[in-house]
């Protein structure tokens, strides 16, 4: 008995030494990220600042962080290394669906200033077990290099959020790791690691006001997205327009044996699936010939991912059960787009806008993608004086229909050169109003 205990202690001691080596190496790879980015919310282009965390994942200075920490609207990204030295970094790629962004440290500066850093190692997030001890490392509330400890509370957490990343959709294609290691604002983008310092997740969010309910993107997802981002800067996904829902409790109603098929909860209007004839209430039994099992919500992201990972323009063959009938439908995928379109500020008008995207038009039951949505107006400026307000969709200026943001930019340039009153047409819940923007 005593011998066994001693042996166990001995092993633990050796393991601890290995762990601390790994853990120290990890600590040298965690960075603080200070970002200044453009915001278009209040009718003006404003610069706002934020703090987050990141982890260096390669010797050539790639840093993984959250999409909600560094976005394409960032104008300045500064990295604080473990040595507390600061260097700049540039955005390499961005993917709000998985809430990941990839940065590259200014290596010239690192060399010139004779700085050094370490790259962290990834662990296998599939091997995690619930109850396993993990650590979160990052910059909560600006407190650089904070380590908190907890366990894996759940390794297959499903949540989808249509505006989770600064208004962008997230979470449709992966499940998340849940941990009770304290995760606070500023921890975002920092690594969740095992005791030996292996990165098994990227901390991304927590329930505000709840105790120790934090979520991380699994390393498996992070590694694969990072690999794509470094090559192409973004992740291209296929879109079919199907809103899947779990079949749980409905198998008997649909006369299915358990663990067979997934329910179609919704089909986007005008989407490839709608064109193919898929309807809400259908049950998809097979996807490109392979059986589908969507009994539980946790199984939905992998099904969505199956479609998303196909090249754009692929044929998706759906084996569908509709009532007593079995039908075969096939849809041709489109490129997946966000509901958030390009944003811009027309400063002399005191007006900030966002392009109506295809997804936004669908979501709001608009007839097409014409127009730009007003994000904000500045009080006292021409757009506000005219009566435009947040949420209006600007569809026409003078006699020109605004199909593209570029058209509005051109009209604005003409106005800047020669300010004259402009007749503007805007819609709010499809009601058309006319306004005049005056110099």
């Amino acid at each position: 008995m005593a011998a066994i205990t001693l042996l166990a202690l001995g092993l633990a001691g050796a393991a601890e030494a290995a762990m601390s080596r790994g853990f120290n190496r990890l600590l040298d790879a965690v960075v603080r990220i200070d970002v200044r980015e453009i915001e278009f919310t209040d009718g003006a282009k404003r610069i706002s600042g934020g703090v987050g965390s990141g982890v260096i994942i390669s010797s050539d200075g790639l840093v993984l962080t959250n999409a909600h920490v560094v976005s394409p609207q960032a104008v300045e990204v500064s990295i604080t290394l473990a040595s507390l030295e600061r260097v700049n970094a540039k955005l390499v790629g961005w993917d709000h669906w998985t809430d990941l962004a990839l940065l590259r440290i200014d290596l010239d500066a690192v060399k010139r200033r004779n700085l050094s850093f370490t790259a962290a190692e990834f662990g296998d997030s599939d091997e995690l077990f619930v109850g396993q001890t993990v650590f979160a490392v990052g910059t909560p509330h600006g407190l650089t290099r904070t380590v908190t400890r907890g366990i894996i509370s759940n390794n297959d957490r499903y949540f989808e959020d249509s505006r989770g990343v600064n208004g962008y959709e997230t979470g449709a294609f992966n499940t998340w790791l849940q941990t009770d290691a304290a995760i606070n604002p500023g921890n975002s983008g920092g690594p969740l690691v095992t005791e030996d310092g292996k990165v098994i997740g990227i901390n991304s969010r927590g329930y505000i006001g709840a105790d120790n309910l934090g979520f991380a993107i699994p390393a498996k997802v992070a590694r694969s997205v990072a690999a794509t981002l470094v090559k192409t800067g973004s992740v291209t996904r296929s879109y079919a327009g199907i809103g899947f829902r779990e079949l749980q409790d409905l198998e008997r109603f649909y006369a299915l044996s358990a663990n067979t098929g997934v329910l179609v909860g919704n089909v986007d209007v005008g989407s490839p699936a709608a064109k193919a004839g898929l309807r809400a209430g259908d049950v998809v039994l097979t996807l490109n010939g392979r059986k589908v099992d969507g009994r539980f919500p946790e199984q939905l992201p992998p099904i969505q991912q199956t479609i998303a990972s196909l090249p754009v323009g692929s044929i998706v063959k759906l084996g569908v059960k509709r009532g007593d009938q079995l039908v075969e439908l096939s849809a041709v995928t489109e490129r997946l787009e966000s509901r958030v379109g390009e944003e811009w500020a027309f400063e002399k008008w005191g007006l900030t806008v966002r392009k109506v995207s295809r997804a936004y038009a669908r979501e709001n039951q608009l007839t097409d993608e014409t127009g730009v949505v007003v994000l904000g107006v500045q009080p006292g400026y021409p757009a506000a004086e005219a009566g435009l307000a947040r949420g209006d969709i600007l569809t026409k200026v003078g006699s020109k229909t605004i199909a593209e943001l570029a058209q509005l930019k051109a009209l604005y340039e003409a106005y800047e050169a020669k300010p004259e009153p402009q007749l503007v047409e805007a819609q709010r819940s499809r009601r058309i109003s006319l306004y005049v923007i005056k110099p």
Partner: protein, 461 residues
């Protein structure tokens, strides 16, 4: 509150005591005969809401008008129960019947039982003031206390602050002058108008059990807004021919927006008002006449739309111009379409079925009320016009089987147990069968909500 009112009464009496006209107390007591309190119930699925409003007697047949706000739109006439009429200061009530709502004035009409008509005097008996009340002129009116105080009448008076066109001529006084729905007089005892529900002073009561749906609109006891006699008297004959308030003229454009004065200036339409047309319902009279989105209506039957303040009032003006007409009437609209002027003749139609007229049925065991899918529902759900598919959820009983399954009021039920619903009758048949089958363990609904669909599984027992 009670004592405060008594003090006001005493103070206000003084200036009238020395007025040369009949003593104000005499005038007050005479004119009380044109004033009643009306009590009724709104019967909802699971509860009953008492409503107390004030009304003015308009003829010798015992007809009484109540303010439009007395009954919420969407409440079916069949839900209105036990109308009772009380004279001021009395505990005795007389039964009355509900006659319906007039679309143009918004008034609800009730008629009191023959036996109770003897002491009533129509408001038309009092000479109407020849001139509009001047700014600063003092007007007076009647207020009635609540039922627990036997509808005790009391005197109110105030001075005219401003006269506005909203679009009808309306005076706003410095403070409360009468109970809403009751007549207002000048110093000579002539009828100046009828007090309206005051702006921003009515509120909705929400059911304790049924979240989201207001069940009754409550008016405060007194009003400082008076619709002038000239806007009231010509329309007292608009007693609805049916309880549904039909016929109602229908134009068929949903989103009308006022034309901003700056826009008028830019379009070189100074001193001209207009409404911008959008959301024209397919196959409606407006659509059939060829009205297009973005047309700006400048005149009706040759009469230019007036410039009213605030800008929005011109939309009400346009709406009332339609409602004062009858289905089948032809209106000529003068439009600005792009840069050209267009004349258009629109033959008004008959307003499609309203929510208050829709067939509906409450399924107690399932816990919800279903009603017909109406033309107007199609507009809200952006369905193609004339869609009759599916039925609408009108009420969901809290804690019921369907509530637990996540069904909400205003959900559009497209399928029941996997079968597409083509008509109201079909839905009734299916739901009645489910309701009656005590062995049923579950059923499934496919509903549409905000453009998204959902499959809901309802567990019974």
């Amino acid at each position: 509150m009670k004592f405060h009112r008594c003090a006001l009464l005493a103070l206000s009496l003084l200036p009238f005591a020395i007025a040369p006209a009949a003593p104000v107390a005499d005038m007050f007591n005479d004119r009380l005969k044109s004033v009643v309190a009306v009590e009724f119930f709104v019967q909802a699925e699971t509860e009953r809401q008492p409503v107390m409003v004030l009304g003015t007697v308009i003829d010798h047949a015992g007809t009484i008008i109540l303010p439009g706000a007395a009954i919420l739109t969407g409440v079916a006439p069949g839900q209105l129960k036990d109308f009772k009429v009380y004279r001021p200061g009395s505990t005795e009530s007389a039964p009355a019947v509900y006659l319906g709502q007039d679309a143009f004035t918004g008034w609800h009409f009730v008629r009191v039982d023959e036996k109770a008509r003897a002491g009533l005097v129509p408001v038309t008996q009092w000479t109407a003031a020849k001139n509009e009340p001047a700014m600063g002129e003092e007007l007076w009116g009647i207020g009635l206390r609540n039922k627990d105080e036997d509808f005790q009448p009391y005197f109110l008076s105030s001075r005219v602050a401003v006269t506005m066109k909203l679009p009808q001529k309306t005076v706003i006084l410095g403070s409360d002058v009468a109970g809403p729905g009751l007549p207002v007089f000048n110093a000579a005892g002539e009828l100046a108008g009828i007090a309206q529900t005051s702006f921003g002073q009515n509120f909705l009561i929400f059911s304790r059990n049924q979240r989201g749906n207001p069940i009754v609109l409550v008016n405060v006891e007194e009003s400082s807004v008076v619709l002038l006699a000239g806007e009231v008297l010509p329309h007292l004959g608009r007693v609805p021919r049916s309880v549904a308030g039909r016929p109602i003229a229908w134009f068929g454009a949903y989103g009308l927006q006022p034309m901003d004065p700056e826009v008028a200036k830019l379009l070189k339409l100074e001193n001209q008002s207009g409404v911008v047309v959008s959301d024209i319902m397919k196959s409606s009279p407006a659509d059939q006449a060829g009205l297009q989105e973005r047309d700006i209506v400048l005149a009706i039957d040759g009469l230019p739309l007036p410039r009213l303040k605030p800008d929005r009032v011109v939309v009400s003006y346009f709406g009332q111009e339609i409602l004062r007409r009858l289905p089948g009437d032809v209106v000529t609209l003068s439009l600005l379409r792009g840069a050209s002027r267009v004349e258009l003749k629109v033959r008004l139609g008959d307003e499609p079925k309203l929510v208050r007229e829709a067939d509906r049925r409450y399924f107690e065991r399932l816990g919800f009320t279903v009603r017909e899918f109406l033309y107007n529902d199609g507009i809200l759900h952006r369905a193609s016009p004339g869609t009759t598919e599916g039925v609408m959820v009108h009420f969901v009983k809290p804690g019921s089987a369907v509530a637990t399954a996540g069904l909400r009021p205003d959900d559009w039920v497209r399928e029941i147990d996997g079968a597409g619903i083509k008509s109201y009758a079909q839905a009734m048949e299916k739901l009645a069968a489910i309701e009656a089958d005590k062995n049923r363990a579950e059923f499934v609904l496919l509903v549409s909500r905000g453009g998204e669909t959902q499959v809901l599984r309802v567990k019974l027992n």
